[in-house]
């Protein structure tokens, strides 16, 4: 009987953190500190990335170290389209999502034939492959990357150049994603995915194509990862191969695990919390990272004590 209450508290926590992000533009204006808004936007973008990874880790039960590749592909899709003058959001955003999903399909098809540590290593390898390709693109700044000339137009308007408007877009997308992910988790597909995770042999014997079910989840996660990459590129105004880095993938994994792998809102909370605390601490004090390390360790131990489900 503990578990439902835990889930409720997870939703409440995520709602609180979202409210904090939603108030950031007000706080930034009152305090005259634009950095606060940028930080909140970044937290929202990482929450989207973490929710997409939670799809693979939590729902499908597969830990991936290659998730940064989807962010990178989404960001580079925007950079490349911008180079051709096609950075219009209505065009470049779907393109970023499709490009990342298109990379997820064949790589996932191969990787999903394995499980556990092998799966981690294969996703890492596919991530690094994309990283080296991005590094070799001299036209797009090679390993330095390149700045974006401008925020992408939204149906021709300059709306997204305003930090508040972009922030609102990120929060709306995050909210929509969370609702969709919860709905998906409670639907037929979500149930099939759960059976494939907990009892793959049984799922197959009932008639579910286990690899296909997992692949759909992987491709969906990849596409949403591409969305997060597009947003991250706009948020930072810069695209570089660092977006493909496995360390970023590892960070995303930490966010998901910190917030609780079982639910999308947990992953979002973990991401928001980690971005805010990390940036806040490193801004406040040069020893901030030590404090962060201690916090992470504490959170991990607390999770172990509470059990995986929380």
């Amino acid at each position: 009987m503990r578990r439902p209450r835990l889930r409720q508290s997870g939703v409440v926590l995520a709602a609180l953190l979202l409210a904090v992000l939603a108030l950031a533009p007000v706080a930034a204006r009152l305090l005259g500190n634009a950095w606060l808004l940028a930080l909140a936007t970044r937290a929202g973008v990482f929450a989207i990335a973490a929710v997409s990874l939670q799809f693979i880790v939590g729902f499908a039960g597969l830990a991936s170290l290659g998730h940064a590749a989807f962010l990178g592909i989404g960001a580079y899709a925007l950079l490349m389209l911008a180079g051709a003058g096609w950075d219009e959001m209505a065009l470049s955003l779907p393109a970023a999502i499709l490009a990342a999903a298109a990379y997820a399909w064949p790589t996932g098809w191969l990787a999903l034939r394995t499980r556990g540590v092998t799966f981690i290593m294969i996703t890492l390898a596919f991530g690094q492959m994309a990283f080296f390709v991005a590094e070799s693109l001299a036209v797009y700044g090679g390993d330095d990357g390149m700045p974006l000339d401008r925020a992408p137009p939204l149906f021709g308007s300059r709306l997204l150049a305003r930090p508040e408007a972009f922030h609102a877009l990120v929060l709306l997308l995050l909210l929509a994603l969370l609702l969709a992910a919860r709905r998906l988790g409670a639907g037929r597909f979500g149930r099939a995915l759960r059976a494939a995770r907990e009892m793959p042999g049984l799922a197959a014997s009932l008639g579910f194509d286990v690899v296909r079910v997992r692949l759909i989840a992987y491709v969906l996660a990849g596409g949403v990862g591409g969305l997060a990459g597009w947003l991250l590129a706009v948020a930072s105004g810069f695209v570089s191969p660092a977006l493909f880095d496995w360390r970023l993938a590892g960070q995303l994994l930490v966010m998901v695990i910190l917030g609780g792998v079982a639910t999308p809102e947990g992953a979002a909370s973990g991401a928001i919390f980690l971005v805010l605390v990390e940036e806040g601490l490193s801004a406040a004090d040069e020893h901030g990272r030590i404090v962060l390390g201690a916090l992470l360790l504490g959170a991990a131990l607390w999770r172990v004590r509470r059990g995986r489900a929380g």
Binding site: A180, A204, S205
Partner: protein, 246 residues
Amino acid sequence: MSVLAAEGLCKSFGALAVTQAVSLDLRAGEVHALIGPNGAGKSSLIAQLAGTLAPDAGRVRLEGADITRLPPHLRARRGMARTFQISAVVGGLSALANVALAVQAHGPRPLAPFRRADGDAALEGPARAALADVGLADRAAVPAEALSYGERRVLEIACALALVPRVLLLDEPLAGMGHAEGRRIVALLAGLRGRCAMLLVEHDMDAVFALADRLSVLVEGRVIASGPPAAVRADPAVRAAYLGAA
């Protein structure tokens, strides 16, 4: 015509031949028991019939069609259901949701993304019927992990039945059960007789002789006898190899 047939199945792991030219058939509506001492190759044979293990040679036919290379999920879609030697249910889901999962897999739009699975009448109607069939109707809302071991095994049979199978492979359905629980399963299976053909792998000889229309005896990867229970029981080779030792 037989519903399910194994034709000359062979399987070796290195020098160990676990299945040696095994032929076996399952007729419509019958209960065919497969018995044999530990290590006789019963589990390997079931795995080859269910599609989780590829035979080195030979064929498996389901209603005449060659399904030897078909993966398990496609066999399920063609009317094969199975239960596992080790209990297999989704523990966190209710008994009803477990059966609904089987109905979902078997029915249209099995992977519909946004339709809520909980409370979906298209899934839960047939699922409730299957639970009622096995006598678990009053336990529908209980999480599978909270059911007793015996109830969980019954739930697995309900899941298999929800697929409306032509063939049901039962891999030691009485394993690990007390006497009373075992009799409950035997009564349940007897009541299901005729709904589908059943291949019953079981060590409990009382259950086997109570249920089987025919009996095949597997020893060291070979079928040494096959036929009506009385004939098999009288077979000298069987007595020597198996029943005599019991």
